[in-house]
């Protein structure tokens, strides 16, 4: 957790800053921040305050959100401000009490994933866990993970079925999961016209949902069909919302922007497993730090015959398949 400013602290800071002589841009920001914090304080004391006040606050916050910059180039202070606004907006708009992290990449960490084809039985618990963990749109049934069912003998995605609806494991079949492979040389990042998507130092390719303009060039560029678009307003029942969120991860997405698997950035940067790896009942999923020689993923890479999908494209996925 690196969220460094609670509303109280923010108030105090703004108070002292108003005493100083500050440049115009800063002054405007402080005033706007103070206004938001003030309204926040009032509505905290009187939860049943008039709806028009809340609407006004939403408008102010939404405008400040509209004119903010790209997360990647924000200062720490700017990040704290947008986090405060987003958390407040989640409360005002949907009555959700969420915490949005800005946890950065941990030093000495590059994440890698390995998938044991022998173990996966096609239960799709990982898909379910992913949907819940990442607040994926329930109405559009957005899924980051695809589980392909294939006939024994040959690995061929063209012949595979990712929409199977029957008891698993099916006789004479095996299963293979795909998701974002967090390529070391991601084609999706290169094509973005506004730098709204980039690779973090720990190898996770992320999207700033508020900077994305929704051109979908990255979707066309991804050889693994890993990216998803918010075609319509996402629907997640309030009681099912995962409040543990990350700015670059599972926070609420706007309509008309691209999203993708982030290896559960809000969990993995705090030393936990991604939800899919944790949910897998068969132990088919191995996740870890590629830079840690004692990690399980390194053991798999060193001792198993591994392969990756479409190696000829030279995108260097950090996602390997292996068999027992």
């Amino acid at each position: 957790m690196t969220r460094d400013s609670t509303p109280d602290k923010q108030d105090a800071q703004d108070g002292t800053m108003l005493q100083k002589s500050v440049d115009r841009r800063h002054a405007l920001k402080v005033l706007a921040g103070g206004l938001a914090a003030g309204v926040q304080a009032v509505s905290a004391c009187a939860p049943l305050s008039a709806a028009s006040d809340e609407e006004r606050e939403i408008r102010v916050l939404a405008w400040q959100e509209y004119i903010k910059g790209n997360y990647r180039f924000m200062t720490e202070a700017e990040r704290a401000e947008t986090i405060a606004r987003l958390e407040r907006l989640a409360q005002l708009r949907r009555g959700e009490d969420v915490t949005i992290q800005t946890t950065g990449a941990q030093p000495g960490v590059v994440f890698g994933y390995a998938f044991n084809i022998s173990k996966c039985k096609g239960f799709r618990r990982c898909v379910e866990a992913c949907i819940n963990e990442n607040n994926l749109d329930r109405r559009a049934d957005t899924q980051y993970i695809r589980i392909f069912e294939m006939e024994d003998g040959v690995i061929n995605l063209d012949e595979a079925d990712a929409t199977f609806q029957h008891e698993v494991p099916a006789e004479g079949h095996f299963y293979m999961g795909t998701q974002c492979f967090q390529c070391a040389d991601p084609p999706c990042v290169k094509v973005c016209p506004v730098k709204a998507t980039w690779q973090e130092p720990d190898g996770i390719t992320v999207v700033d949902y508020d900077w994305c303009i929704g051109c979908r060039y990255c979707i066309a560029a991804c050889p693994y069909w890993a990216r998803r678009f918010n075609w319509s307003a996402a629907e997640v029942p309030v009681e099912e919302v995962n409040p543990n969120q990350h700015y670059l991860g599972n926070r609420a997405r706007k309509t008309g922007v691209v999203e993708k698997c982030t290896f559960c950035i809000h969990r993995t940067r705090q030393g936990r497993l991604p939800a899919c790896a944790e949910a897998c009942p068969t132990g088919a999923r191995v996740f870890g730090n590629l830079l840690d020689p004692d990690s399980e993923i390194r053991w798999v890479l060193a001792n198993k015959r591994v392969f990756r999908l479409k190696e000829d494209l030279k995108t260097e996925p950090r996602f390997w398949y292996f068999t027992d």
Binding site: Y66, E159, P187, P193, W211, G214, R216, W225
Partner: protein, 429 residues
Amino acid sequence: MHLKPFLLSAVNSATSGGRSYHLWMASLSLIILAGAYAYSVQLRYGLGVTGMNDHVSWGLYISNFTFLVGLAAAALMLVLPAYILEDVDFGRAVLMAEAVAVGALVMCLSFVVVDLGNPFGSWHLVPGIGYLNWPRSLLAWDVIVLNGYLVLNLAIPFYILYSHYAGRTPDKRKYLPWMYLAVMWAVSIHLVTAFLLAGLPARPFWNTALLGPRFLASAFTAGPAFMIVLLYFIRHATKYDIADRAFSKLALITTVAAQINLVMLVSELFYKFYSPTEHGINARYLFFGLGEHHALVPWIWTGIALNVLATITLMIHPLRRNPHWLMPACAVLFVGIWIEKGIGLVVPGFVPSPLGEIVEYTPTWVELGVTAGIWALGLFVLTVLVKVALPIELGDVRSPYLEARQPTPIVRPRSARAGHGKVRPVRTR
């Protein structure tokens, strides 16, 4: 000093006309309004109201965009001979070609904007307040070349028209360098748009070195074909005379380009089907269908049939020289290229998906409405530009400050060069 009357007379030209002119503009306005309504639905509910989805993530909008970039670039085929090779016969057609380029660019930019999921975030593209990912993203290149080409195609005709309006001969030293730039720029807008698709190894259907040349060939087919029809109409509906030789030259360009386009199509088909590989599966879907999925098969074969039919017609000299054959052939060719290079190029890139899943695409009424609206907008812009340019070029409209002087009919940008042109009889009606 002539600017205010110039603008006033431009408005006057654009708003006055016969019954059929007003009917035409009113119909276009109605279609634009209907398109605006469809777009308002899309703005409210998101792109979910279109037929696009996570599998087919670009559809009718980007298809029209790729086609219209070609139409915009086609102005090159007229500008090049008229201004640089000093071809007399094309002189009168050049301003019309530039009007077509502007109309097409307006459509291109509109199609890109309506395709954006977050159009209000467009300012993120502007360097300084946003971050334009140039030179890495080909889409950033496209933003630059399209807007640059629009500026060039507005500025050069404006200078020439304004000079004529003010009774001056346009100064070659002032506009010719820009003209050279515009010619190179026309090639660039097309190549950049082709590279935007060809640069994606994820999509083997587009990931071919032939895509750029194919884009150019199809543009120089559809563009001049459109110009032929437009100029023919102008010649008949107004007293603006366009030489027969201009038509025959344009028809020849169209014919050669259509032949090259077909040769490239055959190359593509040979490459994809003689030794079918995994990478040919999208082409298989497009031309023959995969199992029960064959939505585009009749579509693409219609396009190819129209192309072949029109090309053969144009290759027969007596038919090409006869307007009663030339005009329908050009119209058919235009539609054929639109099919082949619009939906026939964009959609199969997505079917099947990179993971082999097949989801087909059908546009919804919202997409059709917005598309019709944008086409009407482009034709509206084109009509206004032609309507403003014609009376100035005919010498009918001149700055009121010139009243003392005898208006001189200046029709050709190269008219300053003596001994090079020849006098053509002016048709009277």
